[in-house]
């Protein structure tokens, strides 16, 4: 980016930068500037950006042998007095993002000795970020590999996977998200496509243990979300105890169910939940756990095509069917079935969701050869605000048949 108009001379610019930085150190919320001051990060460049109201960084390049993703380099723009360099690695996080203290000490040691002493403990991909000095890049890769993690996940590749904490610390986990997370990484195809960018655009895989979706699987290119079939399980005796202790108001609980599936039978003092209505909002489960638990028949809902950055803007994924909690191998195969037509046909910089919008979900599923339990039948092929379409005879007959049946039902 070029210098903004009316940029003050360098000494005034630097002075203004320092004023802004000082201001950002005040206040009750933790300050990033205060943290950056304790490191060798070129804070002056950041300050100049703020004073100029323009990003001070331009694209740079640092080559690290056989590391094709996860290295990002920036050089300060020519209007930043004194220039500057910023290089960082995206590093894979541990399962559930648990950091034992000995691991933290290893990371901080590497960061001090080979980097600038600055760590972004979590990025939005779910990886963490280590700033480094460019001449130590090779060494840092080896150091990170020796403590059991690695660099990767940027560009048009599979990005760092993300799974919620799951059974490690959460009672709501409906399947073993961290086991899935591990199994995905053990697959050769996943490894290769994380290591080398080969796709039209980025591809994200996220795994959430329950419909609360802490891993944000709804906006992944392919997301796996734990659900159950039918109604939640109610332990009536335990629930009555909660009611007697005044912990739960059953009438309120029923009234607040977003699906309207709950009824409190005051006479028999029983909670009745209609499984066919249940939309798995977790409302009652969160209010009265463990008296109300998710149903026993657990499943993993698959959503595809979500994403924030893409040709047609932010999207939530589309539901395409269920897997079982033990079908992690099938999930990996499914991921690559989904990738195949997109990789082969999509234009550059189309996310999977963008490609599906152009192709149509039905057509896409056909091309990818996906068959899953509970696949929804498509509601309509074209948006339903246009009252004209070319319809084959079978389709017209289908509507006729539909209404013929209806005639019998309503007695016309």
């Amino acid at each position: 980016m070029s210098a903004p108009p009316n940029l003050p001379p360098p000494d005034q610019l630097l002075q203004r930068a320092e004023e802004i930085l000082k201001e950002l150190e005040k206040g009750p919320w933790p300050s990033h500037v205060a943290e950056l001051r304790k490191t060798q990060y070129p804070l002056r460049v950041y300050g100049v950006g703020l004073a100029a109201r323009k990003s001070p960084w331009g694209p740079g390049a640092v080559k690290v042998a056989y590391i094709n993703t996860g290295v990002l380099a920036r050089w300060a723009r020519d209007w930043v007095p004194g220039g500057g360099v910023e290089v960082h690695f995206r590093v894979f996080h541990t399962p559930g993002k648990f950091w034992k203290t000995d691991f933290i000490k290893k990371i901080t040691k590497i960061s001090r000795e080979l980097g600038v002493g600055l760590i972004e403990v979590v990025g939005q991909t779910g990886a963490f970020v280590l700033n480094l000095t460019p001449d130590k890049a090779e060494e840092m890769v080896d150091a990170l590999r020796s403590i059991g993690t690695d660099v990767g996940g940027s560009g048009d590749a599979i990005r760092a996977l993300n799974a919620c904490v799951g059974p490690a610390l959460c009672e709501f986990a409906l399947f073993d998200t961290l086991k899935w997370y591990a199994e995905f990484h053990k697959d050769k195809r996943v490894n290769d496509n994380i290591a080398t960018p080969n796709y039209p655009y980025k591809f994200k895989i996220k795994i959430s243990g329950c419909p609360l979706d802490c891993a944000r699987a709804n906006r992944a290119d392919i997301g796996f979300i734990g659900v159950w079939e039918g109604a939640p399980e109610v332990d009536q005796a335990r629930f009555r105890e909660l009611v007697e202790r005044g912990v739960v108001d059953p009438v309120k609980l029923a009234a607040n169910c977003p699906s309207g599936a709950i009824r409190w039978d005051a006479e028999r003092r029983e909670l009745v939940i209609d499984g066919s209505k249940c939309k798995k909002s977790m409302h009652c489960i969160r209010a009265a756990y463990p008296a109300i638990k998710p149903g026993k028949n657990r499943k993993v809902a698959v959503v595809i095509g979500g994403g924030v950055k893409g040709r047609y803007g932010p999207k939530l994924g589309w539901f395409i069917g269920y897997l079982r909690p033990d079908q992690v191998k099938e999930a990996i195969d499914l991921t690559f079935k989904v990738i195949a037509p997109w990789e082969a046909e999509a234009q550059p910089k189309y996310r999977l969701g963008d490609y599906i919008l152009v192709t149509g979900l039905d057509k896409f599923i056909e091309k990818a050869g996906i068959k899953l339990e509970g696949m929804p039948e498509s509601i309509a092929k074209t948006p339903d605000d246009v009252p004209y379409a070319v319809l084959p005879k079978e389709e017209r007959d289908m509507y006729l048949k539909l209404v013929e049946e209806l005639k019998g039902k309503v007695g016309v």
Binding site: L24, P28, S31, H32, A34, E35, L36, K38, S55, P56, G58, Y66, I67, R74, F92, P95, K97, F98, W99, T101, F103, I104, I107, R112, G117, L118, E120, V121, V122, Q124, D150, V165, P167, L169, E171, Y181, A182, H185, A195, T196, P211, L212, R216, R219, N256, P258, M282, H283, V308, K309, R311, G313, K315, L316, F319, P348, L357, G360, I379, K381
Partner: protein
């Protein structure tokens, strides 16, 4: 003979930190999958109860914007975790850190210690759970506004909602992104703040050739094969041929400011005078209440004035207060808006006039919007399961 040094090509086989035995603390491994209950002990502290009878307490601590920590501070955290915890902590997607410990006394001591270091404890239940920020001016080449400093200004103003001094009806999360790429997590969140150019980009002619094929090839290639033309979703970028000269031009009226050209080529530039943020409300990812949804634009443009961003802070505070005073207990912002209706929500905010403006979409954005609306014919998670 000595063994050959390991080849660097081995780096193509990544080392993934997926071994649970190695990376999970022992107390977690002992109780893996055995958790049965949780109890709240004030804002930020939760007790996890296992079927084995063991308990783990977590203490949620807010981090600086963009989750940036110096090695020194992280070491201090590790020391606290060793002294008072079970020798481990957990990083959350919300950009917080959770200390793990085994008793409430220790949890309260951890709270005291980190607060002494200047990090507030809070979140969980009806509270602000944290503010996510992208990196923006700290490292990003395409950022339009600086989200970490906006986050800092917001954090200073919203801290009482995080620590529980002012209780909220339900969970509140804020995402602050520096440009329309929305790397802080998109718009599916209670309040999303997204930086934008405000006006169509300017092309820096001297840099543009780097993003185009060589002039000879450019003269022969059809327009549809040019990468930058492909990248634009509304056809605002097109080739103009005059004699034997070929030029890439931007048709300002067709531009919707999606910033995709900027993401793919450094030649697109903006004037800081036009720059601002748009504020979106009522999105969320979780299937609670009315289900996952994207946020909706409340204010399409506000100036972003460092370092205190008074305009943005004022609007966000106003939204939170309006929601706090009118929502039912347990009702997230998205569910509240769904219940009272968008128009009523605008009236409650006193933004009635906004209705007249926010829907104005350029005629040429139709291609973009048509493709977007195609997606609505397929069921998403809420309708699918």
């Amino acid at each position: 003979m000595t063994a050959a040094a390991p080849s660097k090509a081995e780096r193509l086989q990544k080392v993934f930190p997926v071994d649970l035995e190695k990376f999970l603390p022992e107390a977690i491994l002992r109780n893996y999958g055995k958790w049965v209950d949780r109890k709240f002990h004030g804002y930020g502290i939760i007790e996890h109860v296992s079927a084995t009878g063991e308990r783990i307490f977590t203490v949620k601590v807010a981090l600086p914007p963009n989750a940036r920590l110096s090695a020194d501070t992280l070491d201090k955290f590790a020391d606290i975790a060793d002294k008072l915890g079970i020798g481990a902590l957990r990083v959350t997607m919300a950009g917080n850190i959770e200390f793990l410990t085994d008793s409430l006394e220790k949890a309260l001591k951890i709270k005291e210690e980190v607060e002494k270091l200047g990090f507030p404890v809070g979140g969980w239940g009806g509270a602000l759970w944290g503010i996510n920020s992208c990196t923006a001016y700290l490292t990003c080449t395409t950022a339009v506004v600086d989200s970490p400093s906006i986050t800092k200004a917001l954090g200073d103003a919203l801290k009482p909602y995080f620590t529980g001094e002012i209780p909220l009806p339900a969970k509140l999360r804020v995402f602050v992104s520096g440009c329309p790429a929305m790397c802080a997590g998109g718009t599916a969140i209670d309040i999303a703040i997204v930086g934008q150019w405000g006006a169509p980009p300017k092309i820096r002619e001297e840099v543009l050739p780097m993003c185009l094929p060589p002039p000879k090839a450019l003269a022969k290639l059809p327009e549809s094969q040019i990468f930058l033309v492909q990248v634009c979703p509304t056809g605002a970028l097109s080739l103009r041929r005059e004699g034997d000269k070929v030029k890439l031009v931007l048709i300002g009226e067709k531009c919707i400011n999606c910033a995709r050209c900027k993401e793919n080529c450094d030649a697109f530039d903006y004037d800081p005078e036009n720059v601002g943020v748009s504020i979106l409300v009522g999105g969320k990812m979780s299937n609670t209440g009315t289900g996952p949804r994207l946020g909706r634009v409340l204010i399409p443009w506000l100036p972003a004035n460092p370092p205190r961003y008074e305009e943005i802070v004022a609007v966000v505070k106003h939204i939170v207060e309006t929601w706090r005073q009118h929502a039912q207990p347990g009702e997230r912002l998205a569910d509240f808006i769904e219940r009272v209706g968008w128009t009523k929500f605008l009236d409650l905010l006193g933004f009635g006039k906004v209705r007249d403006y926010y829907q104005r979409v350029p005629e040429f954005a139709r291609t973009f919007l048509t493709y977007r609306s195609r997606g609505d014919v397929y069921p998403r998670l809420r309708d699918g399961i």
